[in-house]
C-alpha cells in the first residue's frame, strides 16, 4: 500500500519532535550534572585545609599509614588508599583524622553515602578539632544536598 505524502510528513514531524524532546532532556541532565560537579568540587577544594597528619599529635604508626594512604590517593589508587586507612582504623578506631580521610576517598570515588557516613563517624570520635569538624560538616552537607538532588 503506497504511503501518502501527508502521512510521511507527519512521521518526519513526530521524529523531529521526539529528537527535540530527547535533546532537551540531555541538556537538562548536563546542566544538573554541572551543578552537582560544582557542589562536590567545593568539597574537593577543601583538600588544602585538611589537616596534615604530621602537624598533629598522632602516633607514628597512624602517621605512617596516613602518609602512605595520601600517596595512594594522589596516585588515584583509591581502593589502595582506603585499604591503608582501614589498617589505621584497625590499629586505633578512635582517630577522627583517619575516618575523615576515608570520607574524602569515598567522596573522590563518588560514593556519597559512605562519604557522609564516614564523615559522621569522624565527628563521633572527634575531640576539639574545629577545623576537622568543619571539614566533615561540609562533606555531610554537600553529600546530603547532592543526594537530595
Amino acid at each position: 500500500m503506497p504511503v501518502s505524502r501527508n502521512h510521511r510528513t507527519d512521521k518526519t514531524f513526530f521524529q523531529l519532535e521526539s529528537l527535540f524532546k530527547l535533546a532537551s532532556v540531555f541538556v537538562l541532565l548536563l546542566w544538573l550534572t554541572g551543578c552537582a560537579q560544582t557542589k562536590l568540587g567545593e568539597v574537593d577544594s577543601v583538600e588544602s585545609i585538611l589537616p596534615v597528619a604530621d602537624s598533629h599529635n598522632l602516633p607514628d604508626v597512624i602517621k605512617t599509614l596516613i602518609k602512605q594512604s595520601d600517596e595512594q590517593y594522589l596516585n588515584l589508587n583509591l581502593p589502595g588508599s582506603l585499604a591503608t586507612l582501614e589498617r589505621a582504623v584497625r590499629i586505633n578506631p578512635r582517630q577522627a583524622e583517619v575516618w575523615s580521610r576515608m570520607a574524602q576517598v569515598y567522596l573522590k570515588q563518588g560514593n556519597l553515602e559512605q562519604a557522609k557516613q564516614h564523615a559522621k563517624r569522624s565527628n563521633s570520635v572527634l575531640k576539639n578539632n574545629t577545623q576537622l569538624k568543619a571539614f566533615n560538616d561540609r562533606i555531610i552537607a554537600a553529600t546530603s544536598a547532592e543526594q537530595i538532588n
Binding site: P59, D60, V61, K63, T64, L65, P79, G80, L82, A83, T84, E86, R87, V89, R90, I91, P93, R94, M102, E113, Q114, Q117, H118, K120, R121, S124, V125
Partner: protein, 785 residues
C-alpha cells in the same frame, strides 16, 4: 574309441578341476585380499579415529585449565608497632603458626628468628604478596615489655620502624575433590640447576626424543634383566607426564600402548618447554595429611619453607630424587634413605657437569636442611572457615572456590581464636561440674572488632575443632532479654516522651492474645516492684515493665528498630516478642549488638577483607562500610544503661571480675533453655550462647551460664593487656542530671537515693523530688565515683 575319448575327458576334467581349484584359490585370494584390504582400511580408520580421540583428550586438558588449584584462606596479618599489646607467648605462637624456625645464633635466612633474654626477638620475614602489593623479606628486631611492643628496629641497625606487617598465617585450604595441593611456577622461574638435575636423573635425552625413546627402553630392559628385577624405567618425562595427567597407574599392555601414543601426540602438539613446565608443576612429591603435594614449587615450600628459587643445589637434588618414590624416600620419615637418594642425584649432577667434585663433597656432608612440617590443614577453624565459604559463595560458585587458586584474606585472629577456644573448653567443663542439671551443654562464642565489624574469632562447638553443626550461624534460638535494649532504644528515640528516668509500672499485667487466651507475663523473680525507672527496668531486666512499654510503643516500631540495628530476619509482631520470644542465631545477635558497640553505626559483620587470584593479583575487596542507623544520643542513653547492667544490674559480677569498664546484657529464655550474654569493650564485641541441642533446660540463666564464659574470655584479654575500657563518650546535646532514684524527679548530688543520669538536652525532668540528705559515707563514695 571310447578309451582315447575317455583319456582326454579325464585330462579335460583334470584340467577343469585344476582350473576350478585355481579359480577357487584366486577367489579365496581375492576374498582374502579384499577382507585384508577392508580390514586394513577399517583398522586404519579405527586407529586414526582413536588417535583423533586421544588428541582431543590431550589438547582439551593441556590447552585449558590443567589443574584445579585449591583456594587458600589466610588469617589477619600481625601488625607490629610500638605500643602494640603483644605478649612474648603470643608472638611465639604467631611465629610457630607461620612455621618460622627458631635459631640460637643470628638468623640469616628468611623464616628464622631468635629470642634473646625472653623479650628481644630478631626475625627475618618472608616475601609475601598482600592485597596492596608485594612486601619483600626484611630483618627486624623488637622487644616486648609489660605485654607491649616496646621497640621496633631494622635488624642489625638502629633505624626504627614505625610499622611492620608479618605475613598472615595460612589457616585453611578449600580443596578440589582430588585433594591436590599445588603452587604453579613458570619454567623461566625454575632454577637451571633443578632442570639439569631432573633431566640427568629422569630423562637425559629429553631434547632428542619424540616422546618415547627406544634407546632408553632397551637400556632399561637390559639393566633390569641384568639386575633380575626392575631397577630402571625407560619412560621419558613426556610419558610420565601423560601417565600422571591422563592414565591410571595400572601396569597393563594397553596402558603402556596408550602412554606411548599419547606421548607422541603431546610432542606433536606442544613445545618441549611447555611439556617440561607442565611436568614440573604436575609431578607428585609427597603427602601432607589428606593433601597431595604436587609440583616442585609447593614441594619446596613443604619441605624447606622457602621458594624453589632460593633452594641450595643439594636441596634441589633431594626434590629431584623424590620423583622416584615420594613415600619411600619421604625425608621426614626416612632420613637415611633420603640422604642416599639425594647423594645419588648429586653424583649424577657431577657427571653432567653441574657440580665440581669439591661442591659434591661439601653437599653430601650437609644435613637435609628440612624446615618444620607445615601445619596448614583444611580444617583448623571449621566454624570460621564455614563462614568464610558462605560469605564467598555470594560472589563465587563452589567450583571456582575449589579450583581457581584464590587467596582469601580474612580478619580471623589466631591469637584471639586460641583464647576463645581455651575459654570455651574451660568454662563449659566448669559449668557442667558446678551445676548438676547442666550436662551435654553446647555453645557458640563470636568475637568481633566492634568498630570495624570484623569477625576475629568464632567457636561453634564445645569441641572447637569439631566440624559439624555450625551453631554460631545455624542455631536459631529464642533470645530472651537480649531484645530489651532494642525496646528501650525505641522509647528513648522519643525524648519528649521517654527518658532513662521515666516511670514504668511493674504491676500484674494480663493481655488477651486471642479470644480465649490470656497472657500474664512474669518477672524472673515472680515478684512485682510497683514502679521502676526505665533505666532500672533494663539494668535489672524486669519483664513486666518492658512488656508494658513495648505494647505502648507498638510492636511494629520495635521490629523496625531491630532492623535498623542490623537484624535481617523477619520478626513476628506478637506481644511475647517483647520478651524475646522469637529466634535469632548468635551471628544475628552479634550483628544487632555491634550497632550498640559502634555507637549507632551499623556495620554488617564480615570476615573477608580481600581476595587475590592465583597470580596474586587483586580480585575483590570487601571494604568497611557503615550506616548511621540510629540516633547517637538515644544509643548513648541505652549504652549508659548497658554499662550499668555490668555495674549494678544482672551482670554486676563483672564489676569485680574485670577492672576495665564494659557494657552488655544477659538473656535467658523459658525453662532456662538458652543462656545468653552479649557485651562489648571499647573495641571488641563478644556474644555467647549456651544451650542444648535438644532444646531442653540447661538449668542456667544468662548470668549463671553465658556470662561466665564471656567473663573468662575477657579476663584473659585483660590479663595480657589487650582490653580497652568501654569509654562512654557523650555526644553533643547530652546533659547529666541528678535525679531521685525512686520518683525520677529532679534531685541533687547530696540527696539520698539520687542517681546521676544522662538526658537528651531538653528532656530533663522538671519536677523536683523531695531531698533527704545522704549519709556522709554515701557522699564520700559519690565523691570518689
Amino acid at each position: 574309441m571310447t578309451k582315447p575319448k575317455t583319456k582326454p575327458r579325464r585330462k579335460k576334467s583334470r584340467k577343469k578341476k585344476a582350473s576350478q581349484s585355481k579359480t577357487r584359490a584366486s577367489f579365496r585370494e581375492y576374498l582374502f585380499n579384499r577382507y585384508t584390504f577392508a580390514g586394513v582400511i577399517l583398522f586404519t580408520l579405527f586407529f586414526a579415529s582413536y588417535l583423533f580421540y586421544l588428541n582431543i583428550k590431550i589438547t582439551d586438558k593441556m590447552s585449558g585449565r590443567i589443574w584445579s588449584l585449591p583456594s587458600h584462606v589466610y588469617a589477619r596479618p600481625l601488625e607490629l608497632y610500638q605500643g602494640k599489646h603483644l605478649t612474648v607467648k603470643q608472638l611465639k605462637l604467631e611465629l610457630k603458626q607461620l612455621d618460622y624456625s627458631r635459631v640460637t645464633s643470628r638468623p640469616t635466612k628468611t623464616g628464622q628468628y631468635r629470642i634473646l633474654n625472653e623479650s628481644h626477638f630478631e626475625i627475618i620475614s618472608r616475601d609475601f604478596t598482600f592485597w596492596d602489593g608485594e612486601q619483600k623479606s626484611q630483618g627486624i628486631r623488637l622487644s616486648i615489655y609489660n605485654n607491649q611492643l616496646a621497640t621496633l628496629h631494622k635488624l642489625y641497625s638502629d633505624e626504627t620502624i614505625a610499622l611492620f606487617r608479618l605475613e598472615p598465617v595460612k589457616i585453611a585450604g578449600i580443596y578440589p575433590a582430588t585433594q591436590q595441593e599445588r603452587q604453579l611456577i613458570k619454567l623461566d622461574e625454575v632454577p637451571d640447576d633443578l632442570v639439569l638435575a631432573l633431566l640427568a636423573v629422569e630423562d637425559r635425552r629429553f631434547y632428542q626424543h619424540w616422546g618415547i625413546d627406544p634407546r632408553s627402553i632397551i637400556r632399561a630392559m637390559l639393566a633390569n634383566v641384568m639386575a633380575g628385577g626392575t631397577v630402571q624405567g625407560g619412560s621419558t618425562l613426556t610419558q610420565q607426564l601423560v601417565k600422571n595427567l591422563f592414565l591410571s597407574p595400572e601396569r597393563t599392555l594397553s596402558r603402556k600402548i596408550n602412554e606411548a601414543l599419547m606421548a607422541l601426540l603431546v610432542e606433536i602438539n606442544y613445545d618441549k618447554s611447555v611439556i617440561l613446565e607442565t611436568y614440573i608443576n604436575e609431578v607428585y612429591l609427597g603427602q601432607n595429611g589428606a593433601q597431595q603435594i604436587h609440583g616442585f614449587e609447593l614441594a619446596s615450600q613443604y619441605y624447606f619453607a622457602r621458594p624453589l628459587i632460593k633452594l641450595r643445589r643439594d636441596q634441589m637434588a633431594l626434590l629431584v630424587g623424590l620423583v622416584k618414590g615420594p613415600s619411600w624416600y619421604a625425608p621426614r620419615r626416612h632420613k637415611k634413605r633420603a640422604v642416599e637418594r639425594r647423594n645419588q642425584v648429586l653424583k649424577l649432577m657431577l657427571e653432567r657437569g653441574a657440580l665440581t667434585q669439591a661442591q659434591l663433597n661439601k653437599y653430601v656432608a650437609l644435613d637435609l636442611g628440612l624446615a618444620n612440617k607445615p601445619r596448614f590443614s583444611s580444617n583448623r577453624y571449621p566454624a570460621l572457615i564455614d563462614l568464610v565459604k558462605r560469605q564467598l559463595n555470594s560472589d563465587y560458585d563452589e567450583d571456582d572456590l575449589r579450583s581457581s587458586g584464590l587467596k582469601v584474606f580474612t580478619s580471623i585472629d589466631p591469637l584471639i581464636q586460641a583464647q576463645a577456644e581455651a575459654s570455651v573448653k574451660r568454662v563449659i567443663k566448669r559449668l557442667e561440674s558446678a551445676n548438676p542439671n547442666a550436662e551435654n551443654l553446647q555453645t557458640s562464642l563470636i568475637v568481633a572488632s566492634s568498630q570495624q565489624g570484623e569477625i576475629q574469632a568464632m567457636v561453634s562447638d564445645r569441641q572447637p575443632d569439631f566440624s559439624g553443626f555450625n551453631r554460631s550461624l545455624d542455631a536459631v534460638r529464642q533470645i530472651g532479654s537480649l531484645i530489651k535494649p532494642a525496646i528501650f532504644l525505641t522509647a528513648l528515640q522519643q525524648p519528649q516522651k521517654y527518658t532513662l528516668a521515666s516511670v514504668l509500672e511493674d504491676t500484674p499485667l494480663h493481655i488477651k492474645t486471642s479470644k480465649e487466651v490470656m497472657w500474664s507475663p512474669q518477672n524472673y523473680d515472680k515478684k512485682f516492684s510497683g514502679n521502676v525507672l526505665l533505666h532500672q527496668a533494663l539494668e535489672k531486666s524486669r519483664n513486666v515493665p518492658t512488656v508494658r512499654l513495648g505494647l505502648e510503643l507498638g510492636l511494629s516500631d520495635i521490629s523496625d528498630t531491630l532492623q535498623n540495628l542490623g537484624v535481617t530476619r523477619n520478626i513476628p509482631t506478637y506481644p511475647s516478642m517483647t520478651l524475646g520470644a522469637f529466634s535469632l542465631s548468635p551471628l544475628d545477635v552479634a550483628n544487632m549488638y555491634q550497632t550498640f558497640a559502634a555507637n549507632g553505626f551499623n556495620v554488617p559483620l564480615k570476615v573477608i577483607r580481600e581476595v587475590l587470584n592465583k597470580d596474586a593479583k587483586p580480585l575483590k575487596r570487601y571494604p568497611l562500610k557503615s550506616d548511621k542507623a540510629i540516633d547517637e544520643k538515644a544509643i548513648y542513653l541505652v549504652n549508659h544503661a548497658l554499662h550499668r547492667v555490668t555495674q549494678t544490674g544482672t551482670a554486676r559480677s563483672l564489676a569485680t571480675k574485670l577492672s576495665h569498664s564494659v557494657a552488655g546484657k544477659t538473656g535467658t529464655t523459658d525453662d532456662l533453655r538458652d543462656s545468653w550474654f552479649a557485651g562489648f569493650s571499647d573495641d571488641q564485641l563478644a556474644v555467647v550462647w549456651i544451650g542444648r541441642d535438644d532444646n531442653t533446660s540447661t538449668g542456667l540463666t544468662g548470668s549463671s551460664g553465658a556470662l561466665h564464659l564471656w567473663t573468662d574470655f575477657f579476663q584473659h584479654l585483660e590479663a595480657i593487656g589487650d582490653l580497652r575500657s568501654y569509654s562512654l563518650q557523650p555526644p553533643a546535646g547530652i546533659n547529666n542530671v541528678w535525679i531521685d532514684g525512686e520518683s525520677g524527679g529532679l534531685s541533687e548530688k547530696n540527696c539520698l537515693g539520687a542517681v546521676e543520669l544522662p538526658f537528651i538536652q531538653g528532656s530533663e525532668p522538671t519536677e523536683k523530688a523531695a531531698c533527704q540528705s545522704a549519709g556522709i559515707i554515701e557522699q564520700i563514695k559519690r565523691f570518689f565515683n
